[in-house]
């Protein structure tokens, strides 16, 4: 009895019927690449999962250089189900970045970035950068020797950029080296600045998706294709996929809980075989390709500049691919996309097994 009354109460104040009509009128194209539409939904689901588990961990985490490591040990060993939520947060982050990459590469291959969806690409790309920075800042929260060394290498790499490098390095570290100030700074990024930015960008991204509708690959645009309703058909399919993803994350969290190393010590040498997180491996392997000095210039600086140019070109693809914008096939940009994906996967695997 309460529910119909509540419904009437809401109906009197808000035009819910119009919203329902809008949800029921949204159509999703059906074709052989339509599985790529679900990768965005999976990423959104994982983001939500990260927000929830992150909030739970924030109740017990102490962002101070003397207590950060100990508070994580307390979360894992003393807090009820603490080990599980920490592990869930870790694996959720890993899978979230995996699906951001799959979503991005899928968009690149079927050229969903083409006119008029350039800003969808821009917001998605910024969200990828934010996700990676989420990963890096979250990694330092552990304050163990591996996290410490990895952040030192990553921020040091940013410092090799010409002109702005040293400013970025000092800004990120909060000083010349990785210290307690870096931890405080990364904590601020991880729990306040990045979540606000990502929520804002996710909102804009979803708004653009609703505004433009779903993109169809150029090769299929002129052909006849079926469409299905977003609500309830695709919505139910989304829920099925989300349930499977939840099952996978929970299974990984239980079977492979992330280890905790020794407490970070700025004076101790970095541990042997130190590697950054998997999404930085392609950059690390690229840096290894360059010699120490090239014609008198610092090899690392040249490598960082080359990687930055590569990433910047990647970002500009929607604005450079004129043929796709005219809905014509552009094999050059398909080749470029394949090269980018192949390079990323190969270098990541090389770094992983090295």
């Amino acid at each position: 009895m309460i529910w119909p009354k509540f419904k009437d109460w809401i109906d009197e104040r808000y035009d819910i019927a119009e919203l329902k009509k809008l949800a029921k009128s949204k159509l999703i194209p059906q074709h052989r690449y339509d599985f790529l539409y679900y990768t965005g939904g999976i990423t959104l689901f994982l983001f939500i999962l990260q927000f929830i588990t992150g909030m739970l961990l924030a109740f017990y985490y102490i962002p101070h250089v003397d207590f950060a490591y100990e508070s994580i040990i307390d979360i894992v060993t003393k807090i009820n189900m603490g080990w599980f939520f920490r592990s869930l947060h870790h694996w959720g982050a890993q899978l979230c970045i995996v699906f951001v990459f799959i979503h991005l590469f899928g968009t690149l291959l079927i050229k969903s970035y083409r006119k008029p969806r350039e800003f969808l690409w821009v917001t998605g790309f910024i969200l990828l950068v934010i996700s990676i920075f989420f990963g890096l800042s979250g990694y330092l929260m552990l304050w163990d020797e591996r996290a410490f060394a990895a952040v030192r290498v990553a921020t040091g790499g940013a410092g090799a950029l010409p002109f702005v490098g040293s400013f970025i390095k000092i800004f990120l570290r909060g000083g010349v080296d990785v210290t307690g100030d870096t931890l405080t700074r990364f904590y601020a990024f991880h729990v306040s600045i990045l979540p606000v930015l990502s929520l804002l960008l996710i909102g804009i991204h979803l708004l653009f998706v609703q505004y433009h509708g779903m993109s169809i690959p150029i090769s299929l645009e002129k052909k006849e294709h079926k469409e299905e309703l977003f609500f309830p058909n695709v919505f139910y399919k989304d829920i099925i996929i989300w349930l499977v993803v939840l099952g996978v994350v929970v299974t990984l969290a239980i079977l492979l809980p992330p280890e905790i190393g020794k407490k970070a010590n700025a004076l101790a040498p970095p541990p042997e075989g130190i590697k950054p997180e998997w999404y930085f491996l392609f950059m690390l392997e690229t840096l290894k390709l360059f010699p120490g000095t090239i014609m008198g210039f610092n090899g690392e600086t040249i490598a960082i500049v080359c990687v930055s140019i590569g990433i910047f070109f990647f970002f500009l693809i929607p604005f450079l691919d004129r043929k796709s914008n005219r809905n014509e096939g552009s094999p050059i940009f398909t080749v470029i996309a394949v090269v980018y994906i192949f390079y990323f996967i190969t270098m990541t695997l090389v770094g992983f097994f090295d």
Binding site: V244, T251, I254, K262
Partner: protein
């Protein structure tokens, strides 16, 4: 012989003490009691059964929706007379 066994015993004790004292202590990131581990793995199996059950129910619901859509009886008729 007795002397040799004594030295061996002392050496083993020192080695064992050193091994335990300086061994890298791993922080347990998973409950170590067998009963807790058993409960967790059982819960995981139940969780997967629940997920599969939910998927089956949603899939049945989806099939029914698609059947109704195919029949064309999912749309409201704007000319239908309202019951007084």
């Amino acid at each position: 012989m007795k002397y040799f066994i004594r030295i061996l015993f002392i050496a083993l004790t020192i080695f064992l003490f050193g091994f335990l004292a300086f061994a890298e202590e791993k922080i347990p990131v998973f409950p170590s009691k067998p009963i807790e581990a058993y409960t967790i793995y059982t819960t995981l199996a139940v969780f997967w059964f629940a997920i599969i059950g939910l998927i089956v129910v949603i899939k049945m619901k989806l099939n029914e929706i698609e059947r109704i859509q195919k029949l064309g009886i999912d749309k409201e008729d704007p000319h239908t007379h309202l019951l007084e």
